[in-house]
Amino acid sequence: MTLNWKIGGLLLGTVFFAAVLLVKPIGVSTQFVILDGIIADAVNPGFITQTEEGYTSTNAYMAKSGGKYAANASNPLNYSFVFVLAMALGAFLSSRLRGGIDKLERAAPAIWRANFGDTPWKRYGVAFLGGFIVLYGARLAGGCTSGHMMSGMMQTSLSGYIFALGAFAAAIPTAMLMYKRG
């Protein structure tokens, strides 16, 4: 079911290469900010405003770098946002083609159940908190596993190495402490 690492690695590397060859390096976490911006502007019109030069926002982070995030949130039909939607579509199709994921596994992965039993709501809580910390951290770092670790180290960028060092320094002990079984 899961691809042999030699085939999988070559395929994944080829996708990262194709992205740089045709457009730009892959990144995902910025699009959480873009979706937040879209939601905030829908709830509170005036969150993003158009200026003579482009776009700006009442939020300093959305307005930084000449308002590029504000501009993207105003025009979601841009490369980076559509890329993430298409990524979801690709994963959906791939999952369907391999027969999907069974019911127990859909609620909580096997490794969770091996350590914490059949406790889906506890799992949802940890997934929610985990998501919070992951995206807060990714935005502070300016990128995530895709943008910093994969695209960054592939381009020999110093920041990619700094990020990977931090990520694994926290991830390995956390995983070892939390998941003693499985």
């Binding site: 691809l3 690492w5 999988g8 690695g9 070559l10 395929l11 994944l12 590397g13 290469f17 740089v20 060859l21 457009v23 390096p25 892959i26 995902v28 959480f32 900010v33 937040d36 300093a60 982070y61 959305m62 559509v82 579509l89 994963a91 199709l93 791939s94 999952s95 994921i101 992965p109 096997a110 091996a114 997934a127 929610f128 985990g130 910390i133 992951v134 995206l135 951290g137 935005r139 502070l140 770092a141 300016g142 596993t145 895709s146 695209s151 180290m153 592939m154 960028s157 920041s159 190495y161 990020f163 931090g166 990520a167 694994f168 320094a169 390995i172 956390t174 995983a175 998941y179 499985g182």
Partner: protein, 197 residues
């Protein structure tokens, strides 16, 4: 329009490959982070190496436009953010890309990850001025730099070594490590082995 088409094609390929290598499954992610099942680590190392060799090789022969490179800045917050992301990544078994892909693949817990992620990103947006004022977002070691110097990239090199050759050499190191890394660095956990789906 071309760019939207490319987004759909490359994005869909990325999502499908993430799913097929096991990256949408916390079982494989956590297995990697506990060092018990390094299959996914080998996949990722080979991918970085492959991407690096193709990209820098392509730039040297003029196939790849060096202007497509996009190097992020180095600052203290990159390390702190990396620590935070690492902790959440291990606890949940998801990172931003694989979380979205996993939800699309049918995992319900990944929807909670995305909801938490949207709130986390929004919280960062609200607290950004404090980080900015702290100086922890200020460039260190030159900010947007590559390890070697890549001609025409517009980015400074940390060293004067040819960035293209260094990129290919480091790519080869990633590939080599992928091959020599064992399937597991520590024994299986107590109790039953979790079948990887």
């Amino acid at each position: 329009m071309t760019s939207i088409l490319l987004a759909i094609v490359i994005g869909a390929a990325f999502g499908a490959v993430l799913d097929r290598i096991g990256a949408t499954s916390p079982n494989w992610i956590v297995g990697m982070l506990t060092l018990r099942r390094l299959h996914l680590m080998k996949t990722i190392l080979l991918a970085i190496g492959t991407g690096s060799i193709l990209m820098f090789g392509g730039q040297m022969i003029g196939l790849v436009d060096v202007g497509h490179m996009s190097v992020k800045a180095a600052y203290i917050g990159v390390f702190i953010g990396g620590l935070l992301l690492g902790a959440g990544w291990a606890a949940s078994g998801y990172c931003p890309g694989t979380g979205v892909a996993a939800a699309a693949a049918g995992r319900k817990d990944a929807l909670f990850f995305i909801a938490g992620g949207l709130l986390g990103a929004a919280t960062y947006m609200a607290t950004y001025p404090a980080w900015k004022a702290s100086g922890m977002l200020d460039d260190v070691a030159g900010g947007k730099v590559t390890l070697g110097t890549v001609p025409g990239s517009g980015y400074d090199g940390l060293t004067a070594i040819s960035g293209d050759l260094l990129g290919i050499a480091l790519g080869a190191v990633f590939v080599l490590v992928a091959f020599v890394l064992p399937d597991s660095l520590v024994g299986g956990g107590e109790g039953a082995e979790v079948p990887a789906e």
